[in-house]
Symmetry: C2
Amino acid sequence: MAEADQSKESLQESLQQVIHLLSKHQLVENLVHKQDMPRHALVESLVHKQNLVGLQKKLDTLHPADVAYILESLPLDQRLLVWDLVKAERDGEILLEVSDAVRQSLIADMDSEELLAAAEQLDTDEIADLAPDLPKDVFQELLESLDSQNRERLQSALSYPEDTVGALMDFDVVTIRDDITLDVVLRYLRRLGKLPNHTDKLFVVDRADSLRGVLPLKRLLVNDPDNSVASAIADDTVIFHAEDKASEAAAAFERYDLVTAPVVDANNRLVGRLTVDEVMDFIRKESESEMLSMAGLREEEDLFASVWKSVQNRWTWLAINLVTAFLASRVIGVFEGSIEKIVALAALMPIVAGIGGNSGNQTITMIVRGLALGQISSHNMKTLFYKELGVSFLNGLVWGTVLGCVAFMLYSNMMLGVVMMAAMTLNLLLAAIVGVGIPLIMSKMGRDPALGSSVMITAVTDSGGFFIFLGLATLFLI
Amino acid sequence: MAEADQSKESLQESLQQVIHLLSKHQLVENLVHKQDMPRHALVESLVHKQNLVGLQKKLDTLHPADVAYILESLPLDQRLLVWDLVKAERDGEILLEVSDAVRQSLIADMDSEELLAAAEQLDTDEIADLAPDLPKDVFQELLESLDSQNRERLQSALSYPEDTVGALMDFDVVTIRDDITLDVVLRYLRRLGKLPNHTDKLFVVDRADSLRGVLPLKRLLVNDPDNSVASAIADDTVIFHAEDKASEAAAAFERYDLVTAPVVDANNRLVGRLTVDEVMDFIRKESESEMLSMAGLREEEDLFASVWKSVQNRWTWLAINLVTAFLASRVIGVFEGSIEKIVALAALMPIVAGIGGNSGNQTITMIVRGLALGQISSHNMKTLFYKELGVSFLNGLVWGTVLGCVAFMLYSNMMLGVVMMAAMTLNLLLAAIVGVGIPLIMSKMGRDPALGSSVMITAVTDSGGFFIFLGLATLFLI
């Protein structure tokens, strides 16, 4: 495992080392504060300094992405201590790597000059990623410090909504003409001396910067250098527009196994490129936010956010849940008379509601996923719908019968068992209908189908389950 | 959008066209079956054939990944019809692209010869991906048809567990020695005539096939051809071992923005390479299975699986849920006496349980995500734990007071309101403890922390909520 030095295992080790050095430092701090020994103060401050120097040395050896990981894994006070030790010239890169929530906590700790210095180390497309989190005056100053081409680029990058290709693309394109030979291209690249990261193809443009095609490096390398660019150009290129949806571009990257792809404007003019690393980050973020929003978390939350911030993040859906739980409670309230007569109903009703919620959650998870993958549309909705109804009906009959028997045995009431079975089946059917319906309606309305879906389905299966069970009981048992 | 022909939007169009052609075909089928007009039979069979030819033509223009997408989006009967129309020589590639569940449905429709022909079009590492789904006799025959090098490779690829680097790697490595000049490398590549997909670096090995380093194509292109390979070699390479965990390799790909990386054995001998497209597929699958398993779905389910298959997939967690719901019901059963005296308890108790479940789900989702990202370990568990307790305490006080007031107003019983508030707060604290505890314990035990987490947290907050609320009510109200 010697060379897996950069993989996660030893990243954990790096984290442990950082924490060890931090705790040593903390120890000395505590000594200095708790005891009042001015004579030893000098020695301690030396030890203290030594620990910090050790920590700083350790941090300097780490990749910016690894420092970002360590910052994200530390509680706020330790995080800021480590952040202060990071060399200023790496601030920009690291800010790019951390999650939005952690970035805000770091930026809040920096003054205007530090922020400006950090931003100035970055490419234009990277500054655009950082811009929303920067204080206005810092951003204004930054804008003024850029040359006109980069200022224009920054403004155009910022003009695209967050979920478009324009917001993900960078400007590191190497362009060539198609009327030269491959040998000329090879010499041109040597003169350039450096190629942008992830370059797997060169972009072939005409005088007006219109995209003609791409020259994969693979073809450049295996073809005769005397051949022209035109003869080696690839014609099956996937091309994106800056306004295209990022999620669709990501799907195309996955489907066609792309490393980079050109981005053009409405006039087919090359404006930038999309790279697989940005796409991968995007996919990761998308799937995370889907998971979080199903559980009713508003957005990516810093693990070590303050209690107050976390409360705010979770407030909305808890409040909605409170309202739905209250409604379910009122449904029961309507049947209080029946419960007074047969108190067993109170004990059995949560089973009907609970199984419905679980089954509904399974259905809604399937549908949300199918929608995210674009596999569901009007043509197959019906098939899906009937399938889910079938699954629920079968589950309802089987488990309903089991529970009906249990209810019969517990309370020696045959009819109670039958009501239990019928209520289970009906509530599972309701769960299927709503589990398919909610995400489809949300997506038709242009909303995120994952958003709070878990809370909504539970609301329906709770109120519905109580109503069906207590209603049937009132009809047939009272 | 002319060139976004391969992106999702027009993929949807392709799907629509396929469905249109399928429905035309279906129409003719129905005519033939329903009416008995032998005179027209000939004409109809012609129209019928024409529709299928149109469909086949359409399919031939599509990328294998797009055909896979269409197959996944079609109900089983239509899926098999389309599958029969796909040119046999593309079978292998398409089988690789579809999801496991859909692959099984396609393979079930093929005979041994077709399967053998499909597998023979593939690279060894691709055959390894397919192997678990192949019938034993087909696999045996396939193994015998391979030459000894490829047979060895296939057997070694199959020997690695599914979640290791060895299972994801391929064998398409281009190797060079370090004592030659870059010019010799350039001439060697031209003689090769073709480079494997995603090649962004060549692997530098010694006579014993030991990995010395890598030569990025970028460096090959920008450096003087008279320089030696040794002078241009990259030394900061990320190297994986075949036994390394795939999830850790994926994290490294994301962190260091890799396109390919070498895989070595215990003796540093180069055995294969990992590419970003495989890693991206892996990440997608991981995040999906996390989402599905949180909801208690056993595995990736074919959207159009038969009702019976779906029931089996969801059976386990529903059964577990049934047991937990029964336990919660028994908790209520203990307090039936109290409910008989104050029937309002029956109406209020699901609120306490429900809000606890929602809050617990939020906590557990955060923790599962933090664990998946490797951000949680023993050093910060305490901080996290106290934070979640703080959030729950605050939420419990605020929402508990609100609901306490509501309960007081509804039932004009001051003490009932106080009990409501206390029960809410305690149940939210329980939700926090269990929401942090369950995934941590699961992960300590080496289990997937996401697995059925949603069902388990709800079980605890239901039983716990009923017990706390009815218990307090019995103590202070009866």
